[in-house]
């Protein structure tokens, strides 16, 4: 379970997040919706353990993220979370399978196991035939599916997605969201940040963010 408790994040005099609190239960699918500059990506970064809040606390499965050392937090993030960013998500000089191998490599898995798991995950997202293609040889939709496979590589229990459909056309965006929904039904917790109301509808629960304040 993710518990966001009274998070405030300021940059100088500007308050980007204002006393934000949120609970995401295991297996839930929550979308945070808001216009550009409303603080939704900042919230996601704080939840991910990437951005230390000015005030407040983030607790994931009973562990207070910002009480961990940087190294411990990095390891925690690697084990718990899978990330999907907007685009330019993949390492350009690595093939699809190699991109999916990265989290496994970072976790210290053996080369043989990395290959096996990555192959299986790409098969799962329908990219069995595209293993050896570089990102530049894949469509944007395919690239985002590789990103899903990469997010799942370490058996992540939570997927954090930041505007993952931002650069996809409506049809590809919906296909992508269907895939995410399917994973959620399999038990993966999803926290999605988007400004697109249609994509947000795939979630079980929507939370609005306006000027750094969460509005249910």
């Amino acid at each position: 379970m993710i518990e966001v408790k009274n998070i405030t994040k300021t940059y100088g005099n500007i308050e980007v997040l204002k006393d934000a609190s949120l609970e995401v239960k295991d297996g839930d699918f929550v979308s945070i919706v808001g216009p550009s500059g409303s603080g939704k990506t900042t919230l996601l970064n704080v939840v991910a353990g990437l951005l230390t809040p000015t005030e407040g606390e983030v607790i994931v499965d009973g562990v207070s993220l910002y009480k961990l050392s940087l190294r411990e937090r990095t390891a925690f993030r690697r084990e718990k979370f899978g990330f999907i960013f907007q685009t330019f998500n993949l390492i350009s000089y690595l093939t699809a399978i190699e991109n999916v191998e990265i989290p496994l490599y970072l976790a210290g898995a053996k080369s043989v196991d990395q290959k096996l798991v990555a192959k299986e995950l790409l098969d799962r997202v329908g990219l069995k035939e595209r293993l050896s293609h570089l990102p530049s040889e894949l469509s944007i939709g395919e690239q985002q599916r590789v990103a899903i496979a990469r997010a799942l590589a370490n058996n992540a229990s939570v997927i954090l997605a930041d505007e993952p459909t931002g650069n996809l056309d409506t049809k590809t965006g919906e296909e992508f969201m269907t895939e995410i929904k399917r994973l959620n039904r399999e038990g993966v917790t999803v926290l999605l940040v988007t400004h697109n109301a249609e994509m947000a509808n795939f979630a079980n629960r929507q939370i609005k963010i306006i000027d750094g304040r969460l509005v249910s």
Binding site: R77, G82, Q86, F88, Y93, P103, Y105, L106, S111, R150
Partner: protein, 382 residues
């Protein structure tokens, strides 16, 4: 995937960028190798030329300074000829070019008071510049009852084909071209012939020693003086010809210093270029590093990635730099040094080690910058 695969894939799929990195270090290493290789050839040539100034060590009787110009018959002190063998048997005898014993005697030949020098074949080795009609002395070198005349000695004696010394006839084998030294006024006969003629059996007035190693790392001229001194009994005095020695050592040292300065400058330049390359590599890859940090890459692994890349660039740059530098020196060296230049294989491991060290050291700061990158900031850049 392992770190090395990760790095190799990046370099393999961005070949031009990798080539740019290699060229940064290759530039420094190839100039370093070319300078060292050409310097070695220059050193050898300079050494060979400097030897032409004459012997650099003189062995003479201890208490009686020898002065060739005031030699009177039966006068000057002598040393046993056997000392020549003692000198030839010193530990570093391989570095001796010539050990040339000499016996001096004055004779009246017609109206000329001629200084005659008894020499052995080593005199020819010690004086490769002796010429007759611009040709190196070969068959003209005196044997038995033959005499070789210095330039002005020959001019004074006219076109004589024979001269008489103490009643014995000597055939003139030739007249040396002008050397600009005291040799021009002397006549040269075989040592043993002069010893027999003067009754100084197996005795010499002095021994001139020429060494090939004047400022070698393991031996300098003064080390030779000490070694010869230790090999000879007390009645011999071993004297380095200081002016020559100092000039020779000074010249050779200057050539070495010049090369060292060039090498240091180009290696600094190479490391500066490499640091620039690595820094721009970090800047270009900010987003990629941001993604990696976000998905759980630890700072230590970022260091590992950059240092591994530096290692590959260093080894490849060192190997290619050695090959290019050797090629440059073999092509351009003969134009500069006017002597053939040979590859120095011992430089290969040095090239690789220096190149790798430079690449690694130059990558530490850029790697640190990468490891300290804020993933949130980096991910914001598209």
């Amino acid at each position: 995937m392992r770190t090395i695969d990760f790095v190799a894939k990046e370099m393999g799929r961005r070949k031009w960028k990798a080539a740019a990195g290699i060229s940064c270090i290759l530039l420094g290493i190839s100039i370093f190798v070319a300078a060292q290789t050409t310097n070695e050839a220059l050193y050898e040539k300079a050494k060979e030329q400097l030897l032409r100034f004459g012997a650099n060590i003189i062995v003479q009787p201890k208490d009686e300074p020898f002065d060739a110009y005031s030699v009177s018959p039966g006068g000057s002190a002598t040393l046993p000829e056997i000392y020549v063998d003692k000198i030839r048997n010193i530990e570093h005898s391989g570095m001796l070019v010539a050990v040339s014993p000499k016996l001096y005697e004055r004779f009246e030949v017609g109206d000329v008071n001629l200084l005659v020098v008894g020499v052995t074949d080593d005199e020819r080795k010690a004086k490769p510049w002796w010429m007759i009609n611009k040709m190196v002395v070969t068959d003209e070198f005196p044997q038995g009852s033959q005499v070789l005349l210095g330039h002005y000695a020959g001019a004074h004696l006219g076109a004589a084909s024979r001269i008489k010394l103490k009643g014995e006839t000597f055939a003139v084998t030739g007249v040396l071209d002008e050397t600009g030294s005291a040799d021009d006024f002397m006549a040269f006969v075989p040592l043993h012939t002069l010893q027999d003629l003067t009754g100084k059996k197996r005795m010499v007035n002095l021994i001139e020693v020429s060494t090939s190693c004047i400022a070698c790392p393991e031996m300098n001229l003064y080390d030779f003086v000490n070694e010869i001194d230790a090999a000879l009994p007390d009645d011999a005095k071993v004297i380095p010809v200081k002016q020559i020695a100092e000039a020779q050592m000074g010249t050779l040292t200057k050539i070495g210093d010049f090369t060292r300065i060039i090498s240091i400058v180009v290696l600094f330049l190479g490391s500066f270029l490499m640091m620039n390359y690595m820094s721009s590599s970090v800047s270009e890859r900010r987003r990629e590093i941001g993604i990696l940090l976000a998905i759980g890459m630890e700072a230590s692994k970022i260091y590992k990635v950059f240092i591994s890349k530096a290692l590959i660039l260093g080894v490849v740059g060192g190997l290619i730099g050695y090959a290019v530098g050797t090629l440059i020196s073999m092509v351009a060296g003969p134009q500069i040094a006017d002597t053939p230049v040979s590859p120095i294989f011992q430089l290969l491991p040095y090239s690789v080690v220096i190149s790798t060290a430079i690449c690694i050291i130059s990558s530490i700061l850029p790697a640190r910058r990468a490891a300290r990158l804020d993933p949130v900031e980096a991910l914001r850049e598209v």
